[in-house]
């Protein structure tokens, strides 16, 4: 298998096959490298974790003492507060280790256990330095060398990838619960028109309720 095939998980691109209208670009943007889960299972990042799914991606490492545990805690909290019915069904969370040299699957598992994060839909991944860096660059690049080389700059920011829609979104996990949930909701696959209109009517109702209660619109 050629390097590129490994990377994109697709046949080599030629002028004739590179661009199929309406096909998600995600497959060519997201590495398909091999990673290991906290249960020591080998997975392909794109094929097994992303393809056809709505996935939140975060970076962490097991012996991190600053914001990785906080971010994990926050996600556990959100899981129990609101996300549980969706997790593992149509919403997934992937934590990728920033320090693959230190984090073997066992280390990830004990981190997850310590934070009560062995939950449905949750995966912790470790791989090789090359693949982790590639992933980090693809998701969290700022076109600024000082930031892009500093791996600590990426925790706490969550990418939400919606592969069928072909877009990725981001959210700050330390924002208010409502805001993080809004961001996750914003990345949901598009609904049918009738449902969109129904949502719109519900929103209007909430705005009207706010105005009746406070005199101004409290929700955003």
């Amino acid at each position: 298998m050629k390097r590129r095939e490994l990377f994109t998980g697709r046949e080599p691109m030629s002028a004739a096959t590179c661009c199929k209208p309406g096909v998600s670009r995600m497959a060519s943007l997201i590495p398909n490298a091999s990673f290991r889960t906290q249960d020591n299972q080998e997975v392909r990042f794109y094929d097994d974790m992303i393809k056809g799914k709505q996935v939140m991606v975060m970076m962490m490492y097991a012996n991190c003492e600053t914001f990785c545990p906080l971010a994990t805690q926050r996600m556990v909290e959100l899981h129990h507060k609101a996300l549980a019915p969706r997790m593992g069904k149509d919403l997934f969370l992937v934590n990728v280790s920033l320090k693959p040299e230190e984090d073997d699957p066992a280390a990830l598992k004990s981190y997850a256990e310590a934070h009560h994060a062995l939950l449905p839909g949750w995966t912790f991944l470790t791989g090789t330095r090359y693949d982790v860096d590639t992933l980090r660059y693809r998701f969290f690049t700022h076109d600024h060398i000082g930031i892009d080389l500093d791996q600590d700059q990426h925790a706490g920011l969550m990418k939400i990838i919606n592969d069928p829609v072909g877009r990725w979104f981001h959210a700050d996990v330390f924002a208010s619960t409502r805001t993080v949930l809004d961001h996750i909701h914003w990345s949901d696959p598009p609904k049918g028109l009738a449902e969109r209109l129904e949502d719109n009517r519900k929103l209007q109702k909430r705005i009207d309720q706010d105005r009746a209660l406070y005199g101004y619109r409290k929700i955003a």
Partner: protein, 647 residues
């Protein structure tokens, strides 16, 4: 039954499917089609409705979805300079709207949820426009195949709305963008009129976006600021002339603008009436839209040819753009008569800053006069003849070029300091002017008898700047890239559409300090404040040694373009700007953000509210401080902070 439920019922009753033009959106498409076949007589109406549905559910017929490039090309295809004529955006065409716009959101007919229009009865709209966001193909150059864009009413550049102060307008923005498409933009819309004196619910708040298939009425009262103080349509000294409108969807402002969702908006009054005749009070600047008063919209794109015979605009965060676009064309030409022309220059972003100058065919820089900054007339027009004019993202400059200084038959070039990729070997059009730096060419000819005669010389004083306002309070905004984790932050926090970060009382005024004190990175932020124009009082620059210790704080003399009123403030690293603003006439949620759209999409944005009552102000300010305390940040108003005016 609560009041709001009652209102909802009422609204539903007002929009029953039986009424002529309110389409029943609860009936699904199949039923509609079926109904059309059976009902016979109703078939015409039904098929019309079906067409609207079809548009909102997929790409409209005729515009095949793009075949995006998967890898960033090294450079765009080659293009021959000066083959296309500079296009002039069409003026918006007023129309009638159905269903008729209402004060409360007409959600039953598919209008996006919003607050009621403020001061609706006072400024009831008289002119209506319909602007439909939908995909279309646009050819950026003769040598390039068409490019898939998202446009308003199928045109790029979009229509320019021409309005008159005192004549309230309403634009119905309909979202007909396709849901299924591979463009990295998002088919959700919230249109901001930059920098209109616009009530909050029509201001395009970043979190107020609406989905494909819905529409929203943006109410533009077209009044001067100061309605409460001056009555009527406000204080004429607050007039702004050149605005622009663009999508403001949180996280996706950069791609949505890159793919074409923006346009210009011009307001006239007796001082600047849109003609050149000697009417009372008129400054008689070049003023015939499209003839002697021409918008110049600057954009930059990286193109890549695709397998299906199209040239797509590549976007991947911040692409390495290498084609300079002006009014939707690469290196166009424009025939001009030997007289004065006004150009309304606008940088539509997403991130490139422009440094423009005018170069004659002898290679020498030629003068042009700046008459307005960010749409506000400057007191004394100033000439750019020995430096470039720096145009940060979203900034507008109205400039006047007097082509009578050139001989007929010669050419003049608009130069950008950074070179673009041309790819076709072309000799330097003028000595010392490489072809890559040329944005467009003006071909000077003699004025025909039928062409409007030149306008009088530009007055040396356009307006009398009033004395700076006396602020009631002061406040500081810190634009940083720090914290834990490191992020673009304003006052220590990233954007959260649900969180207010500053509340001000309607009718009050404040002095704001905009500070960019980040030591590392040397970031420059073109900061934009919605709703009100500000006056720059001073600019300081902090000199630091390598360790970050402050060596000195220098006062930086203001440039002529900073003396007028502005709504975009460029703040290079280590600079601080002091500005004064007033908050008048409308209340609600507004934004401050870095208009480098990549920064903005990375949450370098804050929400601030204008409130109606002291009670609401007190409540919101208390909430802000409580929330800051929880986040481990110092309070802004209470103890430990500078005492606010009312709290």
């Amino acid at each position: 039954m609560s009041q709001s439920e009652l209102r909802g019922e009422q609204r539903a009753a007002e929009n029953t499917p039986e009424t002529d033009d309110a389409p029943s959106l609860t009936i699904d498409r199949r039923t509609l089609v079926k109904g059309g076949v059976i009902a016979g007589a109703a078939a015409v109406i039904t098929s019309k409705k079906t067409a609207v549905f079809a548009q909102s559910l997929g790409p409209p017929p005729g515009v095949a979805p793009p075949a995006m490039c998967t890898e960033e090309p090294a450079n765009s295809p080659a293009t021959t300079p000066f083959v296309d004529t500079l296009p002039i955006p069409l003026p918006g065409i007023p129309t009638l709207l159905s269903p008729i716009p209402t004060k409360a959101a007409n959600t039953g007919a598919g209008e996006a949820a919003r607050d009621d229009h403020q001061r609706w009865d006072e400024f009831r709209p008289l002119i209506f426009y319909h602007s439909i966001a939908a995909p279309s193909l646009h050819q950026f150059h003769r040598d390039l195949s068409p490019t898939y864009l998202w446009t308003f009413n199928g045109r790029y550049p979009a229509q320019t709305f021409l309005g008159i102060y005192g004549l309230p307008a309403l634009v119905r923005f309909r979202n007909s963008l396709p849901i299924d498409h591979p463009v990295p933009a998002i088919p959700q819309l919230t249109v901001h009129l930059h920098n209109g004196h616009t009530p909050s619910e029509s201001d395009g708040f970043a979190g107020d976006f609406f989905d494909s298939g819905l529409w929203k009425d943006n109410h533009y009262p077209n009044v001067y600021a100061g309605v409460d103080d001056f009555g009527g349509i406000g204080d004429p000294r607050e007039a702004m002339r050149s605005f622009w409108y663009h999508d403001h969807r949180a996280e996706f402002t950069a791609p949505d603008n890159y793919f074409g969702l923006n346009g210009q908006y011009i307001l006239y009054d007796s001082k600047d009436p849109g003609h050149e005749l000697p009417t009372p009070g008129s400054l008689r600047l070049p003023g015939y839209y499209g003839v002697t008063d021409i918008p110049l919209q600057l954009h930059a794109i990286l193109f890549c040819p695709t397998a299906n015979g199209r040239t797509e605009a590549f976007f991947d965060g911040v692409p390495a753009v290498d084609k300079w676009i002006i009014n939707g064309k690469i290196q166009p030409k424009l025939t001009v008569r030997r007289r004065k022309y006004r150009f309304r220059v606008l940088n539509t972003g997403p991130a490139k800053e422009w440094n423009i100058s005018l170069i004659g065919s002898d290679g020498q820089q030629k003068p042009f006069t700046v008459v307005a900054t960010d749409g506000n007339f400057v007191q004394n027009p100033f000439v750019i003849s020995n430096r470039t004019l720096l145009i940060p993202v979203a900034t507008r400059f109205d400039i006047i070029i007097d082509f009578s200084q050139f001989n007929a038959g010669t050419s003049v070039y608009l130069r950008e300091a950074a070179a673009q990729f041309v790819g076709v070997a072309t000799p330097d059009p003028a000595p010392g002017l490489p072809i890559g730096n040329v944005v467009m060419r003006f071909d000077v000819v003699n004025r025909e008898f039928s062409f409007p005669a030149d306008t009088p010389p530009i007055p040396s004083t356009l307006i009398q700047m009033p004395n700076p306002i006396v602020p009631d309070d002061s406040f500081q905004w810190n634009f940083t890239r720090d914290g834990d984790p490191v992020r673009f932050r304003i006052n220590g926090q990233v954007f959260d559409h649900n969180r207010v970060d500053h509340a001000v009382l309607k009718g009050s005024s404040e002095e704001w300090v905009l500070a960019n004190d980040v030591i590392a990175g040397a970031w420059t932020h073109p900061v934009h404040i919605h709703f009100e124009e500000g006056r720059i009082m001073s600019r300081t620059h902090t000199n630091r040694d390598a360790a970050g210790n402050i060596l000195s704080v220098d006062n930086v003399p203001l440039l002529p373009e900073e003396l007028g009123r502005r709504d975009v403030y460029r703040i290079p690293s280590q600079d601080r700007l002091t500005i004064r603003l007033r908050f008048r006439d409308f209340v609600g949620r507004y934004l401050i953000h870095c208009h480098n759209m990549a920064h903005e999409d990375n949450f370098m944005m804050v929400r601030w509210d204008i409130v109606d009552s002291v009670a609401e102000l007190t409540r919101k300010r208390r909430e802000i401080d409580e929330r800051r305390m929880l986040a481990g940040l110092p309070p802004q108003y209470g103890e430990g902070a500078k005492k606010g005016r009312l709290v």
